[in-house]
Symmetry: D2
C-alpha cells in the first residue's frame, strides 16, 4: 500500500512539498471533509445516503497517514499493533467493558 | 489488522457506542491530537523531538479509520487503491507534476 | 475585548510565538476540544451536563480568533458584519428558507 | 452582533437545524477551512496573498461561535472575560513569560 502511494507522489514530484507539519495538517483537513458528510445529518442518514463519499474521504485520511508514516521511516501497520497493545494495558477488559468514555 | 482492532473493541463491548458520526468525530479529534504536536513548533523540531508521540497519534487516527471502514462493511485497503486510481485521473502526471496545490 | 486579550499576551511576551499559521492551527485545536465534549454523547446530554465546559471551550476558540484578527490588523466585528451581508446575498431568504444544507 | 446573526438565521428559519452538536461540528469545519488557507504554504505567504480569505473564514468561525453561545443562553463576550481571568490564574505572568507551550 505504501509503495503504491509513494510511487503516486514521486511520479508527480510532490514529496518536496510534504513536510511533516503540512501532512499532519492535511490529515486533519481530510478528517474534516469526512466529518462534513455528517453535518446537519443523523449518523444513519449519512451512512445510508452517502456511503461512497464516506469511503472516499476515509481513504483520503488514510493515504496521508501512510505518507506521513513513510516519511517518518515507520511502518504504520506495526505502529497500530503497538498502539493496540498499549491501549489494552491502559483499558483492561475488566475495567473498561461497556464504558463509553474509554472507547 | 481489522480483526485485531475489532476483537479489541468487542472484548470491551464498545461497538454499541460506535455510531458512524461519532467515529468520524473521533477520527477528527485524533487528527487534532496529531496536529497539536506541531503547535508552536517547526516541522523539523516536532519530528526530531517527538517522533514516538507522532507515531502513536498516527496509529490512533488509523485505528478509528479501520473501525469506521469495518462498520461500513468496506475494506479500507481496497478503498485506498480505488482512491489512488481516481486521484490519478484527477491529477494526471503531466499536469500536476511539481504543483503544490494538487498534492 | 481585543485590548484585554492583547494585554494578556503582551504581559506574558507571547506574541513572538504567534505566527498566523500556528494561530489558525490553535483555533482548530480549540474547536476540537469543544467538539470533544460531544464525543459519544447526544447533543442534549452534552448541553445539560457540560454547559460550563462548552462555554469555556467556546471562549478559547474566540480568544484565538480575536488574536488572529488583531495580528491581521482587522476588526473581527466588522468582518462578521461584512460576512453576514455576503452570506445574505449567497443565501437569499426566499431560496434558503428551511434548507438545512445552506445553514 | 448576536442579534444581527440571530435575525439572519431566523429569517431563513434555520434555527430548527441548529442543535448544539452540529454547531460545534460546524465551528470545527470552519476552523479547518481557515487552516486550509495555510496548507502547503508558509504563514507569511498565506497572510500576504490570502488576507481577505483568512478574514472571511475567521468571520465564519466566529459567527457559529456566537450562534452556539446564544443557543446556550450565554453572552460570549462575558465568557471571554471570564476565561481570560481564569487563564491569568493558570498562567501567572512570572511563570509563563516567554514560554511557548503555555501560549
Amino acid at each position: 500500500m505504501t509503495s503504491l502511494i509513494n510511487d503516486f507522489r514521486d511520479e508527480r514530484n510532490w514529496r518536496q512539498f510534504h513536510n511533516a507539519k503540512d501532512l499532519a495538517l492535511s490529515i486533519s483537513l481530510e478528517a474534516s471533509e469526512l466529518l462534513e458528510v455528517f453535518q446537519w445529518r443523523t449518523s444513519e442518514s449519512a451512512v445510508s445516503e452517502h456511503r461512497n463519499e464516506l469511503l472516499e474521504e476515509l481513504a483520503d485520511v488514510t493515504i496521508y497517514c501512510l505518507q506521513l508514516a513513510s516519511d517518518l521511516d515507520a511502518n504504520l501497520g506495526q505502529e497500530i499493533v503497538r498502539k493496540v497493545i498499549k491501549n489494552g494495558e491502559k483499558y483492561p477488559v475488566e475495567k473498561s467493558r461497556g464504558v463509553a468514555r474509554d472507547c
